[in-house]
Subunit: 310 residues, 2 copies
């Protein structure tokens, strides 16, 4: 049976391209019966990357156990971010760069995680250790994941690994890093092409905080006014999604990738925790300013978790 | 503050020497402020290895947060097998070769696990990847961990990694693999030197199975009659340990390392699950024969877990 390899739900560019690069790694290891798939449609940024480097969009799956008994996870480990029937299959391998939580296996497995800027950064190191070859096309895909997760080396999640590796990958891939990187990031910020649901849910992840369910979405923009104009519809969508799915709180981060600033929109319980976490108050328009914040993982989840546990 | 590196409670040879070899790895990485410690006194087998390779016995700690804020785990991840205050410190790294369960972190970390024969096997690969040097003394310690966990390459947990690496380490360490390996294993089987509690608890680990607490100990012998002679005292000790610590069941595996066979002793609830797991019945002496079984991890925990979940 084919081993399926996939990143998290609501896949971003690093999740999609990590699955592809880890599938290539497995093939070079000799495990040829693997397939990179995705747990959702790719977003506009990822579509731009796939088109640029001439790769087909991965097949989307909703469940895994109906077609395989073995899977490999990239760019996530928490079961609520994974395929819905993750408990019915064997997890043979995980490659990730997030915290570990709500994850367990019955048997020993391959697990590789490092606290660095993208999942593709970890996979790149694994290619280097084995002396495996990275084609120009694969270099482009891996670079796209790194660019997306580090906002072209501007996010505080960026480490020396990405600063060193990204220029190398651009060289192998034969593209200009700044020019391609900005074009790819901008391709993901076309709000006009996104429904309200895309904006709210397109990149959202669930977290357990102080026993409550907190949903945190993020949308990248080049002009925050585009989001402000749609605030009423966005808030209505957050409300209906929270009610439908039982989220206690919903936070949407609208991040200006040019200025590296974020504005938060919020629906639900515990708004005071959000204010306490960032020492900021909601303004008259029910927006909360988060200056300098661009990383959900590094700058939003930890202080919020702390505020919920206080 | 010094980062503490340690293996599981009731440390065996792989747990103790993995902490030492991973500390050496960290030092060669440039993290000089690390100390390998142990979560309990070393056993006779480990003492033999340390004496042979002229290494001091690691300091024993009961808690970590009183002296550091950062730890690294080797050869385990499950919190109930770790230091008692594991939730009060930051786990910066894990190197392991077990399943992952009852483990979580608040932040991204370094995690490296592989389904291979010993934790030292994983650490050996990491040394190779970085081109780090292994001294003759360290080679002896790492080999000792591999020999202990694989019963000198005879356990079904053995993989091609150990088959390839152990002779290499013996060469670096300048010792005869068969001769040293058997001598080390036998040093751990001197039952006359062990109290009943040492036999029952010396290597025991706790597992959650079907919502009940199952304690599984293992003792290596070269003659099962030595254990049979002490069965009454051993069973009384299992009963009192179970009552004192709230274990629902206690299974002790007495493993003949020369014949690769095991006899099980049992106290507590769900004896029928044990019989079902191995399709064996307790004999008139309340012993259960487990022919060919030598590995708790690979041959006992998985079928027992399955029987509990059936």
């Amino acid at each position: 049976m084919t081993t399926l390899i996939f990143g998290h739900q609501n896949p971003d560019t690093d999740a999609v391209t990590s699955a592809m690069s880890f599938a290539e790694y497995q093939k070079q290891l000799g495990n040829t019966d693997v397939e990179a798939v995705a747990l959702g449609e790719v977003n506009a940024e990822t579509a731009f990357a796939l088109k640029t480097f001439k790769k087909d969009t991965p097949r989307v799956i909703k469940t895994a156990a109906n077609e395989t008994d073995t899977v490999m996870l990239v760019d996530h480990n928490e079961f609520q971010q994974s395929v819905s029937d993750i408990k019915d299959v064997t997890i043979a391998a995980v490659v990730d760069h997030h915290r570990i939580a709500n994850f367990e296996t019955a048997a020993p497995l391959f697990y590789r995680a490092e606290p660095i800027g993208s999942c593709n950064s970890v996979i790149y190191e694994m290619f280097q250790e084995k002396g495996f070859k990275i084609s120009p096309q694969l270099a482009g895909l891996m670079a796209s994941g790194m660019i997306s997760d580090t906002l072209l080396l501007k996010s505080p999640t960026t480490t020396d690994v990405e600063r060193k590796v990204l220029p190398e990958l651009a060289k192998i891939g034969g593209f200009d890093l700044q020019e391609y990187g900005l074009a790819m990031l901008k391709a993901g910020t076309n709000l006009a092409a996104k429904s309200d649901l895309d904006i709210v849910e397109g990149d959202a992840k669930s977290f357990d905080m102080g026993g409550t369910s907190v949903r945190i979405g993020q949308v990248n923009v080049v002009d925050l006014n585009e989001v402000y104009e749609r605030q009423a519809a966005i808030e209505a969508t957050m409300k209906s999604e929270a009610e439908k799915n039982g989220y206690d709180s919903f936070l949407l981060l609208a991040t200006n990738i040019l200025d590296s600033d974020t504005t938060g929109f919020f629906y639900g319980k515990n708004a005071d925790k959000l204010e306490a976490a960032f020492n900021q108050k909601f303004d008259a328009n029910h927006r909360i300013a988060l200056p300098g914040v661009v990383s959900r993982k590094k700058q939003v989840v930890p202080p919020l978790q702390k505020a919920f546990e206080a």
